[in-house]
């Protein structure tokens, strides 16, 4: 290739990138190969490649006046890669598409005028916010670190926890435009090969412009049966993901998001918290029972209140009925409207609390508390009992460790309320029955959603509802395809 070749290559890249403003082309004049030297060009995207590294590992060695002494002439490109450059990860490629793709993820391209190949030097130095504390799945005791937006960091966080050569990391790209890097992690020998194959098959089917979060993946690889419940577990905790890998699950990491997807997932996963394993069994089990109770409260409490007060006041103890009736005396709305109004207000407050700038957070909570808690009751718009019910329901829904599950519970709560208002406890029962049926027919990569309870009897019920002490953990939990270790 001649000098014209180098110019042509640069021109092609320029055209391909639409003469992008952040495209840096740095021409270099090398002193070797002797005698006349060579023309080279370094092409990279500004700030995608780490400046410091570029300086130290690439430009400085290239411009070094002391040429390497070679016993025999070799290909300059290979010689540069093998003997001159200080960078760790580099490869030679003649594929121009591949070159562009690598440059997009932060590589610098070293073009030489006498070669149709080029050196791809991985220097990705995108600023990383660093490993910080978890923000959505907090624990009091136990590991506090959370995944970050950088895939490499996330893989490292898991690798550091499981120092076993059987940990497999398979990288793929998804998104026709974003070309997002995805890593699938599992432990060879623990994960069910057919589930692993299933995951790759479904990942291969993804045809989207972009993948910006695991949710994109989750929705695309979930089972086609319609449900409001989450069918894949996602976590920002490396310890949780590691624990699931040990159970034979498969983790899917997506570059650019601190959330990691775990499949297959069953209902109980969303009820358990990492902390269950970091505290004494007695305490953990108490908390687990409280959590299950909270789920029931979050799902059923307003519906039950509506059903009982509007359809079956006869089952309320007389004294309680009298005090409930006293509170409702001047409320102009039916109990159902009252409940929907309060529950909606609560949802609005909750959404506002998440979305608003954190600096004005207090204003909303003060207004919310005063408006709902006091003014509405005093103005006889809602009864005090309803405020208590909605408040308890709201707090109970925060106990649910998985945000994804609490979202589905919030949706189902309204469905239950409607049926309770229309048909009383009978409607509530039928609705609950349909919910159980719809959950029982779900599966996640072949694992029944309600396992280990349905189908019954299950082989492994250890650590299903209650967590036994660790010395009683005979084998790994649950029949999820992963064989025991």
């Amino acid at each position: 290739m001649t000098l014209a070749g180098l110019d042509e290559h640069i021109a092609w890249i320029r055209k391909e990138m639409g003469d992008s403003a952040d495209l840096v082309i740095r021409r270099l004049k090398l002193d070797w190969p002797e005698p006349d030297g060579a023309d080279a060009a370094l092409v990279y995207l500004e700030d995608m490649a780490d400046r410091q590294q570029l300086q130290d590992a690439v430009i400085a060695p290239l411009l070094d006046r002391v040429p390497p002494h070679l016993s025999q002439p070799a290909d300059t490109l290979d010689m540069l890669g093998e003997r001159v450059l200080n960078a760790g990860n580099l490869q030679a490629s003649a594929d121009r598409r591949e070159q562009i793709r690598q440059m997009m993820s932060g590589a610098a391209l070293l073009l030489l005028d006498d070669s149709d190949r080029c050196l791809i030097i991985m220097l990705s130095g995108m600023s990383d916010r660093g490993v910080t504390r978890t923000s959505t799945q907090n624990v009091v005791k136990g590991p506090q670190d959370a995944f970050t937006e950088t895939l490499a960091t996330n893989i490292t966080l898991i690798r550091r926890r499981i120092l076993d050569s059987r940990v497999r990391v398979v990288k793929q790209q998804a998104g026709t435009v974003t070309k997002t890097e995805i890593a699938v992690m599992y432990i060879e020998g623990l994960a069910d090969p057919s589930v692993v194959a299933g995951v790759f098959a479904r990942l291969g089917e993804i045809r989207m412009k972009g993948v910006l979060d695991v949710e994109y993946i989750e929705e695309l690889i979930r089972s086609p049966k319609p449900t409001l419940f989450p069918s894949a577990y996602n976590s920002e905790r490396p310890d949780t993901v590691s624990a699931y890998l040990l159970e034979g699950r498969i983790a899917i990491l997506v570059n650019g998001t601190p959330f990691v997807l775990v499949v297959p997932a069953v209902f109980l996963d969303f009820v358990q918290s990492a902390e269950d394993y970091y505290q004494s069994p007695a305490y953990s089990n108490l908390v687990r029972l409280i959590r299950l109770m909270s789920i029931a409260i979050a799902l059923l409490m307003p519906a039950f209140y509506i059903a009982v007060t509007t359809h079956h006041p006869d089952i309320v103890p007389t004294q309680l009925l009298l005090s409930l009736a006293a509170q409702r005396e001047d409320v102009p709305f039916p109990a159902f409207i009252e409940a929907v109004m309060m529950a909606l207000t609560f949802e609005i407050l909750q959404e506002a609390g998440i979305r608003m700038p954190s600096t004005i957070g207090q204003a909303v909570s003060i207004v919310g508390t005063i408006v709902i808690g006091q003014a509405a009751v005093e103005a006889d718009i809602v009864s005090a009992a309803m405020v208590i019910i909605v408040a308890i329901t709201g707090i109970a829904s925060f106990v649910i460790p998985s945000y994804a599950l609490s979202l589905s519970i919030r949706i189902y709560r309204f469905i239950f309320m409607f049926f309770a208002a229309a048909f009383g406890i009978y409607g509530l029962t039928v609705c609950a029955l349909f919910l159980c049926m719809s959950l029982a027919r779900l599966d996640s990569f072949g694992v029944a959603y309600l396992s280990p309870f349905a189908p019954y009897p299950a082989k492994q019920k250890n650590d299903a509802l209650l967590r036994p002490p660790f010395r009683m953990f005979g084998r790994r939990k649950r029949a999820n395809g992963g064989t025991s270790s």
Binding site: T310, P313, D314, T318, L322, A325, A326, D330, F423, Y426
Partner: protein, 396 residues
Amino acid sequence: MIPKQRLILPIACFLLLLTGCWGRREMNDLAIVLAAGIDPAKSGFRVTLQVVDPSQMSRNRATNRSPAILYSGEGATISEAIQRISTKSSRQMYLSHLQIVLINEQLARRGISEPIDPLIRNPLIRPDAVLAVSRGYSTEAVLALVTPFEVNPAMDIYKSLRVSEKIWAPSFATRLLDLEMTLLTKGKQPVLTAITLTGNVKQGRTQSNVEQPLSKGEYRYTGLGVFQGDRLLGWLDEMDSKAFTFLANRVKRTISHVECPSGEGFASLEIHSANARMIPRVRQGRPEAVVKLKLKANIQEVQCRINLTRESDLFALQRLAADETRQTIMDGILHVQHQFGSDIFGFGEAFHHTYPQYWKHWSKDWNKRFAEMPITLELDYRIDKLGKISSPIHNQ
């Protein structure tokens, strides 16, 4: 075309509409009835319902409004009388929380099966509502009384019966369910407690009744009414009522006094455990019965000089107490046998179960046979606790 499976869900939803369970009513459309009274009237019955005003049950109630409202309606039937009330009330009468039903004495003497029928037929009325006969006053008068303690007179009347039943042997609460079962049982007759008013009844109806520590008018449960079938025959006094509750095994705790062995004062004994068993026997083709009664008591109060640490003194007291109790119970049984001839104790039922062959012949004229039947009492009376001190203080 929609697949068949897809159709199941919407069809199932429509099924919900066919159940007839559409009973939605808001709490502020209901008038919660806590007590009902049934009096005789020219047209048939006069039903009085005592309803709670919920706005008066809350913390910030207006003191000049009554927390309870009385509604009365007349009609040829009970249901008609109740429905007629809707012409003067803004809310529908809600009977599910009916706690107590009072029946006028005159009505009870004529027969209670008519007024009771709608109460046990209506699925909304709970079977554990208690019944009482208003003695000497109309039920309306009793329900109009303003009571201390409970804001709702009905709750006061109801709770008082429940509490005294536990700690005072002559009290006996009959639930709707009990009455229904007794009326359907052969060889057992029902009893209902009586409620009456004392003091200034007229002033007892005003708010001023509870404005000073001493109420001007009061209600009181007094003795049990003996029924023959559904008709009230007459009243048992306090001691006879006590005999009845002992035999009916419904004494949980009660108190009685006995004269000291030395004869100079009384000792008060609290019976804290009572267990009665009826054993029917047939001798020479005639019925007779033994009642085995086991009582355990502790000493509550001693007025006389007695050394309770000495065995002989304690036994002397125990013997006297046993004699006293035996006297009370035997008197009660004999009174019922001779005065009313109505088998409220259920001896007939015991014979029916144990000697069905004899019962076949006796059931027709059981009242007569019951009245003549010899009944013996085997009493096992034990004092097992002396209290915090053994002998009285002035003794030591």
